[in-house]
């Protein structure tokens, strides 16, 4: 049972990390997702702008809510709905053959909404369902925010690995006079 609790804890932390990162990425760099949303749903600029802001808020709330016992059931429902919505957007993107980057996590060069989005969306929905069904198996719920924080940082480092690589790349030192 400890094993099941650990696995479920990891699922909660990972799902929370994904939604927190996705929400914050959209707040920091909303234009990429706004472009994708405008193209996919044929929205005008103000509507797309508002939609992305609301989406970012909901993602953030769902991610944070998964870590709080009282809010976990509602947050799991929201996370599942977001996952299904992402999968649906992916299916629509694939059907329309969209090439506009989805703007996921605030990246300008993210993959367009398509098959990958469907898979990820369904995985997030499945994770939310697991959380909803197995919340009582969590052994140390007080450690979930710590785990989610760690996974959020790892996800950020992975998402922006090109920038991390550039930042840690050794610079050539100038030649010194002898």
């Amino acid at each position: 049972m400890i094993g099941a609790g650990l696995v479920l804890g990891l699922i909660v932390c990972a799902t929370a990390a994904v939604y927190v990162s996705a929400g914050l990425g959209k707040f920091a760099a909303p234009e990429h997702t706004r472009r994708a949303v405008r193209e996919l749903f044929r929205l005008d600029e103000p509507t797309a702008h508002a939609a992305v802001r609301v989406l970012a808020l909901v993602e953030l709330a769902a991610g944070a809510g998964l870590l709080v016992p009282a809010a976990r059931p509602a947050a799991a429902v929201a996370a599942g709905a977001l996952g299904l919505a992402f999968a649906a957007a992916g299916a629509l993107g694939r059907a329309r053959g969209t090439a506009t980057p989805c703007g996921c996590f605030g990246r300008a060069d993210s993959a367009p909404l398509g098959l990958r989005s469907v898979v990820v969306g369904l995985a997030l929905a499945a994770a939310a369902l697991a959380v909803l069904g197995g919340a009582s198996a969590l052994t140390r719920p007080d450690l979930l925010p710590v785990g989610a924080a760690g996974l959020t940082v790892l996800l950020a480092a992975w998402t922006w690995r090109d920038i991390v690589r550039e930042l840690i790349r050794p610079r050539p030192t100038p030649a010194s006079d002898h």
């Binding site: 760099a29 300008a108 925010p145 959020t152 090109d162 920038i163 690589r165």
Partner: protein, 174 residues
């Protein structure tokens, strides 16, 4: 107490996410995108379909004629130096002009001279005023494509060869 500590850590982690996203924005706007290769991207914010109110004297010849490309380079951007180096070695640049965006005109002039851009029509655009006010562009390296003096497309790029294959004198559509 553990919850408070945990959420404090989560807030810090969130700050890391925002920091990286903002670095990504900065990287995109300055053209420093090491892992993106030589992709060419449409700049949707550009005021396509309009002609500038006035052309700098050095670029007056670009006010009409078939496909013309004005490259926007910045003195503060590493990718722009790379592109400038590529331009110096190319022979297919008869339809290309360069606008150097800089905070300081002498720095811009030095950039032109140091990167062998003097053989091309060029203009030093202090504070990027002409490019941003006329076309709504604040990204570099960028390529402004004109036909008969009217902006028909604006592209962000990091490799001139890739840009050239997208915009060619033999192609009348971009």
């Amino acid at each position: 107490m553990t919850y408070v500590f945990g959420f404090a850590l989560l807030v810090l982690a969130g700050a890391v996410v925002v920091l990286f996203a903002m670095l990504g924005q900065l990287s995109e706007r300055s053209g420093v995108t090491p892992a993106q290769g030589s992709g060419v991207r449409l700049l949707e914010e550009a005021r396509v379909g309009r002609a500038p109110d006035a052309w700098p004297a050095a670029l007056a010849a670009f006010a009409d004629g078939p496909l013309r490309i004005v490259l926007v380079l910045s003195t503060a951007c590493n990718s722009c130096r790379t592109v400038a180096g590529q331009l110096a070695e190319r022979t297919d640049v008869a339809d290309v002009a360069v606008v150097v965006s800089t905070a300081d005109a002498p720095v811009g002039a030095e950039f032109v001279a140091a990167n062998g851009l003097t053989r091309l029509p060029h203009h030093v655009d202090e504070s990027g005023a002409w490019v941003s006010s006329q076309f709504g562009i604040s990204v570099s390296p960028a390529a402004l494509v004109f036909r008969d003096g009217v902006l028909i497309s604006a592209l962000a790029f990091t490799d001139f060869t890739a840009l050239r294959s997208t915009v060619s004198p033999t192609r009348q559509r971009v």
